[in-house]
Chain length 140, copies 2
DNA sequence: ACACCTGTGTTGCATTATGCAACACTATGA
DNA sequence: TCATAGTGTTGCATAATGCAACACAGGTGT
């Protein structure tokens, strides 16, 4: 059981080390944000903060940067219900870079998992999903 | 397969978020360092840097801090072959805190995995180990 | 013996991601 | 209309990190 902890720790450590050295097309943070915005309809900054357990201010700055380099649009959309907060959407360029970044990660993963069978991959994914779901129940 | 990536990303993100808010008995970084030193005979700073993919300077500072608060000893041991670098060892207090920290994580994990069978846990651990082992082959 | 190279650690400086607290703005409800 | 709650922004501080320059110790080659 301790093994689970150790291995996850190693994964996290290496992931951040890698993301520090390289910047694919996108920073890890940028990738994560764009991905979240893309997958969340009516996404506002505060939603990101909640989901990623970050401070509002942090998200505000990251979002500001993404907007500054033209990867997202703030307050765009039809915004029927302008109330409460500004809606975030990917710009064309944002989508483009996100896609490229996803593809890069995909390729990288594919190399790492090249010797795995589909079932083995599914099993790992299922285990990880369950692990994360468990956390959502107990706040930790 | 993309699921594996997403789930791992979530795990990493949450782990760092958690470690930011809490400081068990030890910081995540401190815990990781002490744990590595503990598990590595004749451990030198440069070994840590290599294993964790960190810069020498970063390790130097972290080690300096740990020494300053009395959790490790630098250059101690019998050091038959004093050459090349200073050997790091846990101090009594270091071991104590590391043990406590390990126990805290252990408890936390136990809560999260309380509904898992031993086999399921073993499977997950095995999958993660394999995943990490794969990375060691392809540098990434 | 002396000059030189290599491996290790340290330090100055910069950067990134982050949190907290104070503030600004905007609806919404009483 | 005014108070309140929800969002976002900004000033300030901190932790972890990298890079480059430097310091130092041990071997090597001549």
């Amino acid at each position: 059981m301790q093994a689970v902890y150790t291995q996850l720790q190693t994964i996290s450590r290496r992931a951040s080390a890698r993301s520090r050295r390289t910047a694919e097309p996108l920073t890890l943070v940028q990738h994560t944000l764009l991905n979240f915005i893309d997958g969340t309809p009516e996404c506002r900054a505060i939603d990101i903060a909640g989901a990623m357990r970050l401070n509002r201010s942090t998200v505000s700055r990251q979002v500001g940067d993404l907007q500054a380099i033209g990867l997202i649009e703030v307050g765009a959309v039809t915004a029927e219900q302008t109330s409460r907060g500004q809606l975030l959407t990917l710009s064309k360029r944002g989508r483009e870079l996100l896609d490229r970044s996803i593809r890069a990660n995909h390729d990288e993963l594919e190399r790492r998992l090249s010797e795995w069978s589909d079932d083995e991959i599914d099993d790992l994914a299922a285990g990880l999903e369950r692990f994360n779901a468990d956390e959502e129940r107990s706040p930790s």
